[in-house]
């Protein structure tokens, strides 16, 4: 239910704001890349090729470091060989320590980030919004209970709670067949895409409170609106009032929060996989963790490239959120974080 006015606001805000345009371009770009990853990626992101490891991105010539250990005279001798390596046009963003193509890994990493961001947010919203609406609408003990529970829940930082839960529950990964590969449209690409199931559930569980809070606040103010009273006076049941009046009028800030949450959850996911609490290795955070070991030896791009990818996609989502907020509903900045 989007009124003409909302659309007009969106349009005028979009026209006047260059940042809104940039945001849309970035988000659409990331979504397209993630969906059509097998077509975009030049190589199989998991294919190792030690012969082509540590290639720098195009335009750079860097040193490659190979360490060999041999038994010599009963002692272990470690030799480090350094050689100059030119960039290779086949790997425009270079390769990692195992010779996997960085560009392909970044492309597939977008899938993970986006899947976790969107599904985690949906999960959080599906739990949080109904609870918040009901608590705010009926108030009373239910509401008190929810708010106290929310207080307790907020006392644990999302990241800490998430790693604790993942630590307890284990890292469950759900392999999903890639339809493009199954259909035979592309070859040489991973047949399955690994969905980090625990991560999605956990980020949803640690972030639903934000949705509950927003939905509650909206319901709390909407329940005293005269049109809600008018509807009650016509004989509408509470259920009908919530469905027909409260939810549609609360949806705008929920959508804005949703975009903020997608950004927050993408960051959270990258943190989790950086710390090794993800179910998949095709993730930007995981690659940064890998690349971290190479910084001191000069292979700066392995950690840098996936980080830039995170930054650009989060900037895109944030800009989109700013655009929505400015156009739809000012004044909920700052709610919802990692």
């Amino acid at each position: 239910m989007v009124s003409e006015r909302v659309i007009r606001n969106l349009k005028s805000e979009f026209r006047t704001s260059a940042l809104a345009k940039l945001g849309l371009v970035l988000v659409v770009g990331v979504v397209l890349v993630a969906v059509f990853a097998p077509f975009v990626a030049p190589h199989n992101p998991t294919a190792q090729n030690l012969g082509e490891s540590q290639l720098p991105p195009l335009g750079f010539t860097e040193t490659k470091e190979t360490t060999t250990s041999e038994m010599e005279d009963g002692e272990v001798v470690t030799r480090t060989v350094q050689e100059r390596v030119e960039a290779d046009a086949a790997h425009p963003l270079g390769t990692d320590g195992l010779g996997r193509d960085m560009l392909s890994r970044v492309v597939y990493g977008a899938r993970t980030s986006l899947a976790v961001g969107v599904l985690g947010t949906l999960f959080a919203a599906l739990v949080g919004v109904p609870v918040g609406l009901i608590a705010g609408y009926y108030r009373g003990k239910l509401d008190d209970g929810l708010m106290r529970f929310a207080d307790v829940s907020l006392a644990f930082p999302s990241l800490v709670l998430a790693i604790a839960l993942i630590g307890l529950w284990g890292r469950v990964a759900v392999p999903v067949p890639d339809p493009f590969v199954v259909a035979g449209l592309v070859s040489d690409m991973p047949e399955r895409f690994t969905l980090p199931g625990t991560v999605i559930i956990v980020v949803g569980l640690v972030n639903w409170v934000w949705f509950a809070r927003i939905a509650r606040g909206e319901a709390l103010s909407l329940r005293d609106q005269e049109y809600v009273k008018a509807s009650r006076a016509l004989g509408a049941s509470h259920g009908r009032v919530i469905r027909r009046h409260v939810l549609p009028n609360a949806i705008t800030p929920i959508i804005v929060l949703g975009t903020v949450q997608v950004a927050a959850i993408i960051l959270l996911e990258s943190s989790l996989s950086f710390l090794g609490f993800s179910g998949t290795t095709l993730s930007w955070g995981f690659d940064i963790a890998q690349g971290r070991d190479y910084i001191s030896s000069g292979q700066w791009w392995i950690a840098t490239v996936p980080g830039l990818a995170i930054m650009l996609s989060v900037i895109g989502v944030n800009l989109l959120g700013d655009w929505l907020r400015d156009a739809l509903d000012p004044g909920i900045e700052g709610e919802g974080g990692v």
Binding site: E226, A230, R232, G235, N249
Partner: protein
């Protein structure tokens, strides 16, 4: 019951005349409210109880009796916070009452089951004040108007002419929009595309869609400009005539009430202080509050220029802690003196104001000193001068010219106050100046024109030990309409407990 009317897509125009008097006996009121109370409780959480705090009750509506007769417009008028809107919503059971009964056409609304309540909702509607927040911004005006029909799944059977229920409802919405002065082709527009007056018309159409008999109009024109307000008032009058509607008209604007209402009830701090036929209320008000309200309204005519109003002093007290006895006594210019006291009314008012500030508003002697000090700012020589202190208070509370024993008492209290013992000063004054108005709650008394005021009670509270002096003391008051002082006549026979219409 109106079941005969429901269901079939009957054209509404002109079929309502027969209804007035339809359900019960014609002289029975359609709505009868008795002892309606609505309290809100604050500081009522577990935590507050742990902290040993008593829950505070906000007495929004505190014992209201009303009869709304078929086909009439009963006005409920009062200032903001007097509980008039809460009363309107509570009697429709949009809020749960704390106490009291509401009978609608003989049925007890408070005791209705869900099913009965659903039936009741069809017969009683409401129009709200704010034309902006009373329409859901996400719905078209067409959907808003027919929301009631959708809720009650009306028509019950598919229309005979082959239209779908949906089409039938849409046609009905168009018809209603036309009736309230909008055009049917605006049916798919959203509320924000309309002006305030047009939105209020939509709100009226929504209330009419279910063919109600009774409509609560909660300040329906307060948010509108005068030119548009007049349009809506005319429309409401026309609709009432056409559909035989019964109105409960809640308003703060006395001119509007006078224009549209048949009878009026005046509310103050959750209670009805006066009720009666509109002309009686406006032409010979009995309650000092009603008088003051009428006095205060600015008239739009040249004669108004420079008119100095005897404004009521002070603010309305908080409904968390309403004054004892008569709620109005803290502002009443005619508060009754105890038999032992006989001083000019302004001075008695002054003494009562001083008491009130001491007892209810946390007045502190220190504040007077500070104020005095601020007048002598920069004057290092300034010292606390008890004479100046007392003079300030005499000035503020109009205590000059007291004589004899009363003067001694007041001076005594001032002396105590100079020494910073506020509580003791209050006690001193209370002992001597307790008014009958604060000891006993007045009861709404009278046949058609009822008033809740000790001045008009059966029992004569306004006695004096020396009757000779009463006349001179009270006669000194200026600007008092003649009928106001001695209008007990004709009310003596009414039972003290009953409201009007027994």
């Amino acid at each position: 019951m109106t079941d005969a009317d429901d269901g079939a897509p009957v054209e509404t125009v002109g079929r309502r005349e027969a209804r007035s008097g339809g359900g019960g006996a014609p002289d029975e009121p359609l709505v009868r409210v008795r002892g309606l109370r609505k309290y809100y409780y604050e500081d009522d959480s577990l935590l507050d109880r742990l902290l040993g705090r008593e829950p505070t009750s906000v007495k929004a509506v505190d014992g209201v009796d009303l009869d709304v007769r078929r086909g009439e417009t009963l006005g409920v008028v009062g200032e903001s916070g007097c509980g008039k809107s809460t009363a309107g919503e509570t009697l429709l059971r949009l809020r749960e009452a704390t106490d009291g009964t509401v009978e609608f056409d003989g049925e007890d609304v408070m005791a209705m089951s869900d099913e009965e309540l659903t039936r009741f909702r069809r017969r009683a509607g409401i129009v709200f004040q704010d034309p902006f927040s009373s329409l859901d911004p996400r719905m078209t005006v067409g959907d808003i108007v027919i929301e009631g029909l959708a809720i009650h799944d009306e028509p019950a059977d598919p229309p005979a002419d082959g239209r779908s229920k949906r089409e039938w409802r849409r046609d009905r919405a168009a018809e209603l929009l036309e009736r309230v002065g909008l055009s049917a082709d605006q049916i798919d527009r959203y509320p924000h595309e309309f002006s305030g007056g047009q939105r209020q018309r939509v709100g009226i159409a929504r209330a009419l869609a279910l063919d109600p008999e009774f409509v609560v109009l909660d300040e329906p024109v307060s948010a509108l400009d005068v030119s548009v307000q007049a349009q809506i008032l005319n429309l409401l009058g026309d609709l009432q005539e056409e559909f035989g509607l019964t109105y409960l008209f809640i308003a703060h604007d006395l001119s509007v009430v006078r224009h549209i209402c048949d009878r009026v009830a005046v509310m103050y701090l959750g209670e009805i202080v006066e009720s009666g036929p509109t002309d009686a209320i406006f032409e010979s008000p009995k309650h000092p509050y009603t008088e003051a309200l009428l006095e205060a309204v600015p008239r739009a005519s040249v004669e108004e220029q420079g008119r100095r109003v005897d404004a009521l002093s002070g603010d309305v007290p908080s409904p968390r802690d309403p004054p004892s006895g008569c709620h109005f006594r803290t502002r009443c210019p005619e508060v009754i003196q105890p038999p032992t006291i006989d001083i000019p009314q302004e001075q008695y008012r002054g003494v009562m104001d001083l008491r009130d500030r001491l007892e209810r508003e946390g007045f502190s002697a220190e504040s007077v000193w500070e104020t005095l000090a601020s007048e002598h700012a920069g004057d290092d020589e300034f010292e606390r001068d008890p004479v100046a202190f007392k003079e300030t208070l005499r000035e503020e509370f109009d205590l000059h010219g007291l004589t004899g024993a009363t003067m001694d008492t007041v001076e005594d209290a001032l002396e105590i106050l100079v020494n910073g013992r506020e509580g003791e000063a209050a006690d001193r004054l209370r002992d001597a100046f307790t008014s009958p108005c604060e000891e006993e709650e007045p009861i709404l008394t009278g046949e058609t024109h009822a008033v809740s005021c000790h001045l008009h009670a059966d029992e004569d509270y306004d006695v004096d030990l020396d009757p000779e002096d009463v006349g001179t003391a009270m006669g000194g008051m200026a600007g008092m309409p003649d009928g106001a002082r001695n209008s007990d006549e004709g009310d003596g026979s009414a039972a003290p407990t009953g409201p009007e219409d027994r």
